[in-house]
């Protein structure tokens, strides 16, 4: 029993596992606040320029956004399944992890393509790239797009980290002790779901906002 704990501080593996799950939750609360601060900035800016923000949000690609949302939600499902089968000690847990990683990669691929399209449409208001937005208040619209790139960028960075961790776990699967697999996948899944939830908010802020208006 004793030899399977990661830290001598714990008497049993079960107790350690409880601590690790708890730690992940606390960590996610902390992560929420990073996004929270950015989202606060977004909300304040949107409150300052309500019309421009609604108008600018119609420039993003609803199709690609929706597609990506679907992909990410599916990946949340696959990692949840991976968690269940890892707990049950079944073999295809590893396969499900690979699938999750692939879905994540697809999301990132689409996201990069979308950014590139936006660059071509002249919607990138920084780094001296050209910004040729034709709406009523280009100044405020620029703020919208800066926030869009900052927030989706931060999200993509998180997804990239998640992707690396999930891919790493899948690659090193045989080297992870059998009794620790469930724990490992649970932690990964929590983190993945978090990224997913953040995206749902971003989707509402940057894609859905303003579409219902005439």
């Amino acid at each position: 029993m004793k030899d399977s704990v990661d830290s001598d501080a714990f008497a049993t593996r079960a107790r350690e596992r409880e601590a690790q799950d708890f730690a992940m939750w606390v960590f996610l609360v902390s992560e929420t606040l990073i996004f929270g601060a950015f989202i606060l900035v977004y909300l304040i800016s949107r409150w300052q320029f309500p019309l421009t923000f609604a108008e600018a949000a119609r420039e993003t690609s609803l199709w690609l956004g929706t597609l990506n949302t679907a992909i990410l939600l599916t990946s949340s499902l696959t990692i949840a399944l991976a968690e269940m089968s890892a707990e049950a000690g079944r073999r295809h847990a590893r396969l499900l992890l690979v699938l999750t990683a692939l879905l994540g990669a697809a999301f990132l691929g689409i996201k990069f393509w979308e950014w590139f399209e936006e660059y071509r449409k002249g919607l990138v208001p920084f780094l001296g790239l050209n910004f040729s937005y034709g709406g009523r208040d280009p100044q405020a619209a620029a703020l919208f797009f800066r926030l869009y790139f900052a927030l989706t960028g931060l999200h993509a960075l998180h997804l990239l980290i998640g992707l690396t961790l999930v891919g790493g776990a899948a690659a090193l699967w045989p080297r992870i002790a059998a009794e620790k697999r469930g724990q490992r996948v649970t932690a990964l899944a929590l983190y993945w779901h978090f990224i997913d939830v953040v995206w749902v908010f971003l989707f509402a802020f940057f894609y859905l906002h303003g579409r219902a208006l005439p």
Binding site: D8, A19, L154
Partner: protein, 544 residues
């Protein structure tokens, strides 16, 4: 040296550099932190000394104006982020937390070591940026100056951002340890107050540090990508920066002071030989402070142009946050009442804390009144106020705690007379340095000026003289504590006859903290009534 119980204590085996740099023992990581933060304290102190020498005369004759701006930025950034915030939690806290709750280690020993490496890296990085680049924004990185000043601002801000990861990792480790690793019998209301304050501090760190990280990231994005969130020329809002910054930095003040309150709550009962008065109330008030601290950031912004209503609301909330602190002060005072008080060095530091923190708190209340604040904003009154809290309060508590637990950490006693002398000197030096600054500020001396009208000369000269005394009092322990490690009298397990699990194991503790898994079977601070000596004197507590 030769009779060190080899192989037994955590200091016992493995003295190679590599053994220390790869250790996962929380007690050794505490030492790593101690050395690093003391290094930063010396650097920050050197900058403070230069500032004070410059201000000794009314003319700006020592350094050029740009250099002056860089100096106070260096001093502020290093002292706040690389000394004060990690000081008590990461040295004393790291060492004591598992011992105090009867655990063998922290929940994540490797994460603990990693967080030290991140801290070291961030510190060197930031210090490099400050020296090479000459950042002049002050430790607050206020926009628009920080959006426009030289490009090293981004690098310095990145350094502070990195340090945030280390803070979050330690805080996470502490919270999980306290939740999951308390020994049998150690209920929440049997935890020492120091553990309570570490818990409250960690929660504040977990909730506030990410906001700071986001804010700094925005500054960097603003500078590198031209994000324009804060720059009014691009539709941004500089006041927004102040909101985000103070949302973190006001709670950060409690990150700096709460652990100090915890240390004092351990020392006072021990040297008064009395249980801590109102234990539960003190525990609750720690959590109260942590909660309220998130609601008062706007008192830093009375003159920023926020609305009058916001000003009034924040003023009111700031009075509220004073209540839990006041509760603590009353409880400490009541603990002393009828106590059998002795004045060893830790006790002197703790009493110094009580007095200086009290004064800092009272002047803080003055500042919470918008009318006064508008008069003294950005004067030396502010400088004096926050040094009373941060140096008079937090640094005194740190020194007191270091002396109090030194026998536990090293197994040796420090020379008591020298300790008492240093404690008194620090009190005198502190008072001489910072009391004149209240007067200066009230008379209208603005902060951050490298020269001033000659009317202010006398008060400035007094302050500079005090700084010399203060510096001496900080350097003294460096020598006698080091000496004591080799030559000091052996301490024995419990030299102060204190309660608390950490005193029930050997000094220095064995690698796994306890020979036998401990059980907690007593309420905290169960000090027995002291035995009355035949001659009516106090019992001698210097003996092992």
């Amino acid at each position: 040296m030769t009779d060190r119980t080899a192989g037994e204590s955590y200091l016992g085996k493995g003295w190679g550099l590599l053994d220390w740099l790869t250790t996962t023992d929380h007690k050794r990581v505490a030492w790593l932190y101690l050395f690093t933060i003391l290094g930063f304290f010396l650097i920050g102190g050197a900058a403070a000394t230069l500032i004070r020498i410059e201000l000794f005369t009314a003319k700006g004759d020592l350094v050029r104006p740009e250099t002056y701006n860089r100096l106070f930025t260096l001093h502020g950034v290093i002292m706040v982020w690389f000394f004060l915030i990690p000081s008590i939690p990461n040295t004393l806290g790291n060492f004591l937390l598992p011992l105090m709750i009867g655990a063998r280690d922290l929940a994540f020993p490797r994460l603990n070591l990693l967080s030290w490496y991140i801290f070291l890296f961030a510190g060197i990085w930031t210090f490099g940026a400050l020296i090479l680049g000459g950042v002049d924004t002050g430790w607050t990185f206020y926009t628009p100056l920080s959006s426009l000043s030289n490009s090293w601002v981004s690098i310095a801000a990145m350094g502070v951002f990195f340090a945030g990861f280390s803070t979050i990792a330690s805080a996470l480790n502490f919270v999980v340890t306290i939740h999951k690793l308390r020994c049998p019998g150690m209920t929440w209301f049997r935890m020492p107050i120091f553990v309570w304050t570490l818990y409250a501090t960690s929660l504040v760190m977990l909730l506030a540090t990410p906001v700071l990280a986001a804010t700094l990231l925005l500054i960097v994005l603003e500078r590198v990508l031209g994000l324009g969130v804060f720059d009014p020329a691009q539709g941004g809002d500089p006041i927004l920066f102040q909101h985000l910054f103070w949302f973190y930095s006001h709670p950060a003040v409690y990150i700096m002071i709460l652990p100090g309150m915890g240390v004092v709550s351990e020392i006072l009962p021990c040297f008064a030989k009395r249980p801590l008065f109102g234990y539960r109330l003190v525990a609750y008030s720690s959590m109260g402070i942590a909660t309220f601290s998130f609601l008062v950031w706007g008192h830093h912004m009375f003159v920023s142009g926020q609305s009058v209503y916001a000003g009034i609301l924040f003023s009111f909330m700031s009075y509220c946050v004073a209540v839990p602190s006041a509760i603590k002060v009353f409880n400490w005072t009541f603990t002393l009442r009828n106590g059998y008080i002795t004045f060893e060095a830790p006790m002197l530091y703790a009493l110094g804390f009580l007095f200086l923190f009290g004064m800092g708190g009272l002047t803080g209340l003055m500042l919470a009144a918008t009318a006064v604040d508008v008069h003294v904003t950005d004067t030396y009154f502010i400088v004096a106020h926050f040094h009373y809290i941060m140096v008079g309060g937090a640094v005194s508590a740190f020194m007191g705690g270091l002396h109090f637990w030194w026998p536990k950490m090293t197994g040796r006693m420090y020379p008591e007379r020298l300790g008492q002398t240093a404690a008194m000197l620090s009190f005198i030096g502190f008072f001489l340095t910072f009391a004149p600054q209240f007067v200066l500020g009230y008379q209208g001396m603005p902060r951050r000026y490298y020269e001033y009208p000659s009317e202010f000369q006398t008060w400035h000269a007094l302050s500079s003289a005090g700084a010399v005394v203060l510096a001496a009092s900080y350097l003294m322990p460096l020598f006698y504590l080091t000496w004591s490690v080799f030559r000091g009298r052996r301490a024995g397990g419990n030299p102060w006859q204190a309660t608390g699990l950490e005193w029930q194991t050997a000094s220095p503790p064995p690698a796994h903290n306890f020979e036998e898994p401990p059980v907690c079977d007593q309420p905290p601070y169960a000090y027995p009534p002291p035995p009355v000596q035949p001659d009516g004197g106090q019992p001698d507590r210097g003996q092992p």
